[in-house]
């Protein structure tokens, strides 16, 4: 069950960070649902085909919507075109960033790495520092003082959540980091999870980003139009809303400081269009338990583990009927959280 951590200090360099270590919550062993090694090996098999197909479709849709946005620029018709372009750029990039960051989307390593760098830029997450941040998120999922990726710290900042739909908090924060990295520095928090050997890479990538943004801004000034920024830069803001809609379903309102992903992750059934945009990240609980299973096998992994997991959510509607009241309640009482029910017959928590 959840381990008590005093006060809501989410800093990775604050007192809860030490406390999490003392209470055995840092780098701890997590519960795993039973599955035969043979079946898991089948599900872990890598393929290039599905991710190549999905990436070609993604590029084609980006090009088409981008072309229509350009073509109809100056008329109202460019609005739906950039609406689609923005979602593909600022939201679909989240799942590409995630799956390629784990290097499971493609079998071929360089394909994962190329798409990872590209998607990192689009979703506004510097590739190297965020790789390490996500590594920590997997080690210490929703452990207060350890996990740098807790989307909704308690008590929830409801205005901040509303701003997140257009990256209005995370965006400026990331640009500040890029600025620091360009100068060869990390934030104190980043210094807790980015090893020394990786730091030159962080600085190099930040300088490449800065160059791309400077060229785009230069082009906008030269052409006296924001059009270049509608393609590079701004879509990370105006297209980020769907990322937030999907992303909040992963952990918001659930338990903190537990060592069982069944209690702090959600699996949400989604339609095929959403699953294309989200690359099956809606099977989030299964992903956390077995991060070696590629996105295209997550539905099969879900079928395999289902009996040992809490009931999945039937769509975004059902999920938000839980999340919105939970966050509202947490804004008044930060100790409140949604207690997930394990199905009858599920293996009990260890310990």
């Amino acid at each position: 069950m959840s381990v008590e951590i005093s006060s809501y200090d989410y800093s990775l360099v604050g007192k809860n960070s030490k406390l999490a270590e003392e209470k055995g919550l840092a780098s701890a062993e997590w519960y795993s649902s039973p599955i035969s090694r043979k079946r898991l090996k089948e599900l872990m098999q890598r393929r290039d085909g599905p991710a190549i197909r999905d990436t070609l479709i993604w590029f084609a849709l980006l090009s088409l919507s981008g072309f229509l946005g350009y073509h109809y620029w100056g008329t109202w018709w460019c609005v739906p075109a950039f609406f689609v372009y923005g979602v593909l750029y600022g939201s679909a990039s989240d799942s590409r960033w995630h799956e390629c960051g784990h290097r499971t989307a493609f079998k071929t390593v360089w394909m994962n790495d190329v798409i990872y760098e590209m998607a990192s830029f689009m979703v506004l997450r510097e590739s190297t520092s965020w790789r390490w941040s996500h590594t920590r998120h997997h080690t210490d999922t929703i452990i207060v003082g350890r996990d740098p990726e807790i989307a909704v710290p308690r008590p929830p900042d409801l205005v901040g959540i509303a701003m997140a739909f257009f990256s209005l908090k995370s965006g400026p924060k990331e640009f500040h980091r890029v600025f620091l990295h360009c100068r060869g520095r990390l934030t104190d928090e980043e210094a807790t999870y980015v090893p020394d050997s990786e730091r030159p890479r962080v600085y190099r990538v930040a300088r490449i980003w800065a160059l791309i943004y400077l060229v785009t801004i230069g082009l906008a000034i030269y052409t006296r139009s924001i059009l270049p920024l509608m393609f590079i830069g701004l879509p990370s803001f105006y297209g980020a809303w769907l990322l937030v809609v999907f992303g909040l379903t992963q952990h918001a309102g659930l338990a903190e400081n537990v060592l069982d992903h069944r209690l702090n992750c959600r699996t949400v059934y989604m339609n095929p269009v959403f699953r294309f945009v989200y690359w099956n990240m809606n099977y989030h609980l299964e992903h956390h338990m077995f991060p070696m299973v590629p996105y295209h096998n997550l539905p099969a992994l879900h079928a395999e583990l289902k009996a040992d997991l809490p009931k999945p959510y039937n769509g975004l509607w059902e999920t938000y009927r839980e999340i919105i009241p939970a966050l509202w309640q947490q804004s008044k009482d930060p100790t409140y959280f949604v207690q997930r029910q394990l199905p009858p017959g599920a293996k009990p928590l260890p310990g």
């Binding site: 499971t104 079998k107 390490w132 080690t139 991060p291």
Partner: protein, 109 residues
């Protein structure tokens, strides 16, 4: 069961105990190792725990000559121990392996 040791070679398992392109955990003398069988039926051994965090590689996934760690997908070439990039930055220790009379032996230093 106590594993037989002769001239520093420890009897780890039978050849058939590891499937082709797979990995198996082997503990000896308070230490833990990972034993691999490649697709071409060659055997290899490395330290059993990932150099990033203390996670058993035997729960990982073997692809050709690569072992992928189950925790953060860090990869090593298990024939050389070489770390293949973030999040693994430190190489794995490897150990000599021989096969005799249907048994796999690992030479521990």
């Amino acid at each position: 069961m106590k594993n037989e040791i002769k001239d520093g070679w420890v009897d780890a398992c039978a050849v058939g105990d590891i499937e082709p392109e797979d990995v198996r955990r082997f503990d000896s003398g308070g230490r833990t190792f990972a034993l691999y069988r490649s697709n071409d039926n060659k055997y290899y051994a490395t330290d059993g725990l990932c150099t990033h965090e203390q996670v058993h590689l035997a729960d990982g996934f073997v692809m050709d000559h690569i072992i992928e760690c189950p925790k953060h997908n860090g990869r090593f070439d298990f024939t050389t121990g070489k770390a293949q990039g973030a999040p693994v930055c430190v190489n794995l220790q490897t150990y000599p392996v021989k096969v005799e009379s249907g048994r796999v032996f690992i030479k521990l230093g």
